[in-house]
């Protein structure tokens, strides 16, 4: 019997029926990663000791016939920008080499408390800046569907680890599409909940007002199970949504109970974003979108085209606000307290300069310079302030649409995965990869990417659902119904190859 590629409820059954133990499960995943990750470079470090310790705890519960917590024994991979106590957190950067936090991220903590088993920290673009994982200072993650292609980014390692079957849940972060875009390119489910629904404490910040923690899973149900544990208010995060604002529309536990009842999308009003469909998309992507619309109609949804003219400003606005916040958030990596330092420097200024020059990669440097520029006196009003204004206008535009529609949809990414090196010389072309995912970050909307087909090279295509802030339930219901009605949820060939080689 294989222990790999199981869903949360499947693992739960295996454990409660004692067909396997948490330790066996953890070991099976760890050895699969150890034997296969040289192909994907999804992990920056394995947390083997932690995994086995956590598995032992679960096995003790099982033998004591105690009730198992909701994520007991579930293999979990954590993006390296999220803190796991006592294990390195490099953010894919050389400047944080050697840094080990003494705390868990709140999101990680909640999953651990629910019984999840941490198998490792996943690779990503440096400080989560990138759309292809080519900006990692350590190794380039490959797409498990075809190792010549990028997995997307910045949470490429997390997306790849779920696509490969290394873990059932992987945590990522989404600042400008960094969960949904790689989910789309790797053919898995990736969700970015409403801003503030999941605590940012312990998430090493890229751009605080845009950063979200979100899960990757193979199925929508597993995403709901993960969020049911992880989406909690946190007194350590002032931007966390307080309990009194968490209405039924973002109640994941209730949604989990209601799942069997969701069989269609009758009376659900869905808008297809005009600005993000049509010519801007690759042919295969547009075809998959058209097909998806037909499926949604069959499910009973009412579908219209809707226009969101401000969406075209999302990218420029994002590339002002993100660098502005990043330039400030990355200032603490100065060689004084932790991480790397150029020890040959003779005075303070040269220590700052050579440390940051030597250990920070070129994309973070680009954003630090951009951000410093747009916040400088004389430019602040023209760039930062104006961008904030447009961000508000875009948010209002979304709010208006959601007065008439439950959801809006578009392809998560205008293209499928591209080949390594295709876009590295042209930052603007690279930035375009997130043109459809960035609007939801700017407006703080819940958004999900789920598989909706494959291109001619058998590379996955993703469909994105967005809803009003705190209506996370709506995107999950629609995604769940769509997933049930289609057959795109597949593992990459990696898992099959590994399993067949074993036997």
């Amino acid at each position: 019997m294989t222990l790999l590629g199981k869903s949360i409820s499947e693992i739960h059954k295996l454990l409660t029926s004692k067909e396997t133990s948490a330790t066996e499960l953890a070991q099976a995943h760890l050895s699969y990663i150890e034997k296969s990750d040289h192909l994907t470079h999804a992990f920056l470090c394995l947390t083997k000791d932690l995994a086995l310790k956590q598995a032992t705890e679960i096995d003790k519960l099982i033998s004591a016939k105690k009730e198992l917590p909701p994520l007991a024994g579930i293999p979990l991979a954590v993006k390296d920008v999220l803190c796991v106590e006592s294990y390195p957190a490099t953010c894919g950067s050389k400047i944080l080499e050697g840094f080990k936090p003494i705390y868990n991220a709140t999101s990680v903590n909640l999953l651990f408390d629910a019984g999840a088993i941490c198998v490792g920290k996943t690779n990503c673009d440096e400080f989560a800046m990138g759309s292809s994982n080519e900006n990692s200072a350590y190794a380039k993650v490959t797409n498990p569907w075809n190792h010549n292609y990028v997995p997307g980014g910045s949470s490429g390692g997390s997306a790849a680890s779920v696509a490969a079957g290394f873990a059932t849940i992987a945590l990522g972060t989404d600042t400008g599409g960094s969960v949904r875009q790689p989910a789309s390119l790797c053919g898995v489910v990736g969700m970015k909940p409403t801003y503030g629904l999941v605590s940012r404490f312990g998430l090493i910040a890229l751009a605080s007002s845009l950063d979200h923690v979100g899960p990757f899973t193979r199925t929508v149900e597993d995403t709901i199970r993960t969020l049911a544990v992880m989406a909690k208010p946190d007194t350590h995060d002032s931007t966390s949504v307080p309990q009194k604002m968490r209405t039924a529309n973002c109640d994941m536990v209730a949604l989990l109970n209601d799942l069997p009842k969701i069989t269609n999308l009758k009376n659900v009003k869905i808008g297809v974003i005009e600005e993000l469909s049509g010519e801007g998309n690759e042919k295969s992507v547009q075809k998959a979108l058209d097909l998806a619309i037909e499926t949604l109609k069959t499910l009973g949804a009412k579908i219209d085209k809707v226009s969101l003219p401000k969406v075209k400003y999302a990218l420029p606005v994002y590339y002002i606000l993100n660098p502005a916040e990043a330039s400030s958030n990355l200032a603490r990596y100065d060689g004084v307290k932790y991480g790397a330092r150029d020890k040959s420097a003779q005075d303070l200024l040269s220590m700052y300069l050579s440390t940051r020059q030597s250990f920070i990669g070129s994309e973070p440097k680009r954003r630090i310079m951009l951000g410093t520029y747009v916040l400088s006196s004389g430019y602040y009003d023209a760039y930062y302030k104006k961008a904030q204004r447009v961000r508000r206008l875009l948010t209002e535009e979304f709010n208006d649409i959601f007065k008439s529609y439950d959801l809006v949809i578009c392809p998560t990414s205008p293209t499928t995965a591209f080949k390594f090196g295709d876009r590295t010389d042209d930052p603007l072309k690279m930035y375009m990869a997130d043109v459809a995912s960035i609007p939801a970050d700017l407006a703080g909307l819940p958004a999900i990417s789920i598989p909706c087909g494959f291109d001619e090279n058998n590379m996955p295509i993703g469909l994105q659902f967005m809803a009003a802030p705190l209506a996370d339930r709506k995107v999950l219901e629609a995604a769940y119904a769509f997933e049930k009605a289609t057959d795109y949820t597949k593992f990459s060939p990696m898992l099959q190859k590994y399993e067949s080689a074993k036997t």
């Binding site: 751009a207 350590h236 931007t239 916040e325 603490r332 005075d347 916040l375 400088s376």
Partner: protein, 480 residues
């Protein structure tokens, strides 16, 4: 040409909260380096600030005391710059929406307007090896205990007209902060720090001159001296037809001069922007009302009460009110029924002299309100002379005791028994027949001599009123 100085002061006051501005670390001064730190206040990756409500309450109280407008909503901003004592590479401060705006302090019937007051976090502390500053040192160590301690920056309008007035402003401001119990006001420990903006202009001119910002002012005396020096420096420049340069200057206590700061160190563009890790604060009006009900009597009001109700002079009232501890003790003694005049004289005179000599703080004294009341009554009842009362007071300052015990132990009880005193007076008159003769011939001044001799004979314990009465009687008798 005649110039007048225009002075504005920026005060950084440590707010007296148990924990830091954005984390749960203690704020006490003097702990071992880096023992009062956590991931938040050393700026570890991934951690987030959480606003300490007690800091906001302190800031609101200051706003109420200075009669500022308390903002309905206020927000925090990041002030970006690199320095090793600043662990995040930015300071959480308030830029364009401070918690308090407007307000004023009254000193000697002059209103000094307050421009604004805003909350921010303090930086850590650098210790340099091999040199006084960062430059030239072999290495520097950082202590983040102070990092993240809440500060309120209180900025005055340029309404201050002299170095003396600057000192008075600071004294009064510190007093107010102590009265409302939001700041220790301790300059040596750095819990109350001051920078001064100084410019001069021709008398009567309305346009402001170019100002210099003076830093490194570690005492009220330094503030006064530095401003005085700066006025003279700028006067010399203008008189010689040159122009004052706008710059930051450091006061040097040992040479008594201000020196320009390295221009590089001040060429900052702080790139302020709203702190995205904190949501804007909506200040609940009912909270402000609650806090305003907790406000104690402020120095200005107390001073006026001493003048109006207790008939103290402005100067006496000022000196007593300047120390909240002294003023509280004074109030309690007077409430018990002690003479306000006697208490005020005892506190301003011998008590302050004692503190200066012994280099002690008022809080170190053993004196209680009951002591003052007992002493006042003893004088009033004639149990002790006013001269002896001062001796009793000195004992009460030094150690816990009772007035009656000290009077008894030191044998200072006043003799009021007329029979005993009659004998003493007669003895003195008998022993000095020639002086009695002089008095008889009309030299009434000799009366003072007799008084002194009697006091000497009774070791100062004789009740002067009775002595006078007996002298009147016996000298007249002797005349006949």
């Amino acid at each position: 040409m005649e110039y007048e100085p225009v002075i504005g002061l920026e005060v950084h006051a440590h707010l007296k909260t148990k924990t830091k501005a954005f984390c749960g670390c203690p704020t006490e001064f003097g702990a071992q380096p880096n023992t009062q730190v956590c991931p938040v206040c050393v700026g570890m990756p991934g951690v987030l600030p959480v606003v300490n409500k007690a800091m906001v309450a302190c800031a609101i109280k200051v706003g109420l005391a200075l009669e500022c407008t308390i903002s309905a909503t206020t927000k925090f901003d990041r002030k970006n710059y690199f320095y090793p004592d600043l662990p995040k590479g930015y300071q959480i401060s308030q830029y364009d929406e401070p918690i308090c705006r407007g307000g004023h302090i009254t000193i000697r019937n002059r209103k000094i307007r307050i421009h604004r007051a805003h909350m921010e976090e303090d930086a850590g502390k650098l210790v340099h090896a091999g040199a006084a500053g960062l430059h030239g040192s072999d290495y520097s160590l950082v202590d983040y205990n102070r990092g993240g301690v809440p500060l309120l920056e209180i900025v005055s309008e340029p309404d201050i007209g002299s170095p003396e007035e600057a000192r008075l402003y600071l004294t009064e401001l510190r007093n107010i902060l102590r009265y409302i119990d939001v700041c220790d006001g301790n300059l040596e420990e750095g819990s109350f720090r001051c920078d001064a903006n100084v410019s001069i202009r021709p008398v009567g001119a309305t346009k402001l001159g170019t100002r210099a910002e003076i830093k490194n002012l570690n005492s009220f005396r330094a503030v006064q001296r530095a401003i005085q020096y700066e006025i003279e420096r700028q006067t010399t420049i203008l008189d010689s037809g040159k122009e004052v340069v706008q710059e930051t200057r450091l006061w040097n206590e040992s040479d008594g001069k201000t020196h320009p700061m390295r221009s590089k160190e001040e060429a900052h563009d702080y790139r302020y922007f709203p702190e995205p890790d904190l949501v804007p604060l909506v200040i609940d009006r009912t909270w402000v009302t609650e806090l305003s009900k907790e406000m104690p009597e402020l120095p200005e009001v107390r001073r006026q009460r001493y003048m109006d109700n207790l008939k103290l002079s402005y100067d006496d009232a000022f000196v007593i009110v300047e120390s909240k501890e002294m003023s509280d003790l004074f109030d309690q003694a007077v409430k018990l029924g002690a003479s306000a005049r006697d208490c005020s004289n005892w506190l301003i005179g011998p008590t302050l002299a004692y503190l200066r000599e012994e280099k002690k703080e008022f809080a170190d004294l053993a004196l209680t309100p009951k002591n003052l009341y007992d002493l006042s009554r003893a004088v009033n009842d004639g149990a002790v002379s006013s001269t002896a009362a001062k001796q009793v007071l000195i004992e009460l300052l030094a150690k816990k005791s009772e007035v009656a015990t000290i009077i008894k132990d030191l044998g200072l009880a006043q003799v009021s028994d007329e029979g005993d005193l009659r004998k003493a007076v007669s003895a003195v008159l008998d022993a000095n027949p020639s002086q009695v003769e002089e008095f008889r011939q009309g030299k009434t001044k000799v009366r003072q001599f007799f008084f002194g001799e009697i006091m000497k004979a009774t070791k100062g314990k004789a009740n002067p009123q009775i002595i006078n009465k007996l002298l009147d009687e016996l000298l007249v008798q002797a005349k006949v």
